[in-house]
Amino acid sequence: MKHVALLAAFLLIAGPAAAQSTGKPAPWGPGADDAAFAQMLKASFKDKGIAKLDRLNQDETQAFCSDPGTASGPASAARREKIEAANLATVKWPSDGKWLGDWREGEKIAQSGRGNTWSDKADQPNGGNCYNCHQITAEEISHGTIGPSLLGYGKMRGQGEDVLKATWAKIYNAKSSNACSNMPRAGHMGILGEAQIKHLMALLLDPQSSVNK
């Protein structure tokens, strides 16, 4: 239960501070203050499989983005930039200087939504969940729409160093360029490894990839 106490402590500290920095009171109405909310969380969840209670502990980015009214407001612009910079600083660039793997492997990773639920095993490779939210190839019509279409991604952008870096950073830590992006931070959170990210890079940027055909 230590983490819940930590969360409660965090909420108590972060709550008033956030309110001060924006000059606005917290958006949650009576009965849903930080103490009541922390108490509800503590009583409402339990460990199951690999999904432990510590997953409820928020980092700064998650805490900030859990109050979207304040987070998206003009008064929070500086805070958003600070969070983006902190996330960008977590990005580990390719260790051998090579950016692209095999786009066919990338397609398999993009298709897979497996991993990290309480019914998954810790020793199985995770999928990228990409098609859940993005259109990626013309062949796959079963794609989500929460993220933008990535059809023709590399064809439109080429393979300049700025493109390689921006794409890598987006996959590794999506919050590096958009503080409250809906996209998970695949590299930073350990969802995907370096080799997997290279395969996804190839899927997006290799001229032979079905994304760019």
Binding site: A32, M40, S44, D47, S66
Partner: protein, 270 residues
């Protein structure tokens, strides 16, 4: 027309053709799914669960060998008709806001003397928790075609609504997901599955009024608690405790947002 504007016109025509083709393709897939969903409405196996639930409701059980027929679901002891359309709500006897399933546990405990712990802890769809799905099918069926009428008025109901709203936006876990990640915008999809925008009346209605539901793909009857449990699984959260406050709070948020929409319970899903 000069060469530049002819070029622009040609470009726009090509873009329009592509856009139309893509739209038509998507439309066709979507239409197929909608036709399938409509066909499912003809015979909903949830009726079988409703019948089982009614039997459970009327059968003496537990150490007190009593039925659930005296259970107060909010409209007075024994009133089932229309009760689900007004849940969750505040109950003076427990001094708590309860959804249908937490209230059923209270009645099983007080009226029948049943130890509800095994019901809370069992996996969904296994004994004895499977009884909760049947009971939820029965009770929710008695609110079919009745408008959802949850309006938080008691201070504890208002607090529960606010807690539910806060829970809806609460991010955590390795994927940074909150309920709002998928259900916080209008007209979004995961793969081909349309996602209701729960903060709007229309979206909340689409979600709230169609659960509990029979799921054709799994052949299972899912209560709202089961639905929420699997949402949290996919959110990569730890498991919500059955009938816990976080789940009741989210139901309060959905039910109140769905105000006025007609209950279609129990529903049927792919």
């Amino acid at each position: 027309m000069d060469r530049v504007s002819m070029g622009i016109a040609a470009f726009l025509a090509v873009v329009a053709a592509f856009a139309t083709a893509a739209y038509a393709q998507k439309d066709k897939a979507q239409e197929g799914i909608e036709a399938y969903r409509e066909a499912l409405q003809d015979g909903n196996p949830a009726e079988l669960y409703e019948a089982t639930g009614e039997e459970l409701w009327k059968k003496p059980a537990g150490p007190k060998n009593a039925t659930l027929e005296a259970c107060d679901l909010g409209l007075g002891a024994g009133v089932v008709k229309g009760a689900y359309a007004r849940l969750p709500r505040y109950f003076a006897d427990t001094d708590k806001v309860q959804d249908l399933e937490s209230r059923l546990l209270t009645c099983m405990s007080t009226l029948q003397g049943i130890d509800t712990k095994p019901y809370v802890e069992a996996a969904f769809g296994t004994p004895p928790k499977e009884d909760m799905n049947a009971l939820a099918a029965f009770v929710s069926g008695q609110s079919k075609d009745i408008p959802a009428a949850v309006t938080p008025t008691h201070p504890k109901e208002q607090a529960m609504y606010e807690l539910g709203k806060r829970m809806f936006f609460y991010q955590g876990g390795p994927y940074d997901f909150a309920c709002a990640t998928c259900h916080g915008q209008e007209g979004m999809r995961i793969r081909m599955q349309e996602l209701p925008y729960i903060s709007s009346n229309k979206g909340a209605a689409a979600g709230w009024t169609s659960w509990p539901a029979y799921r054709v793909s799994s052949g299972q009857m899912w209560s709202m608690q089961w639905r929420l449990n699997d949402c949290f699984r996919q959110q990569r959260f730890p498991e919500p405790v059955y009938a816990s406050d976080a789940t009741v709070a989210l139901s309060m948020y959905m039910a109140a947002n769905a105000l006025g929409a007609t209950m279609k319970t129990p529903g049927i899903k792919r």
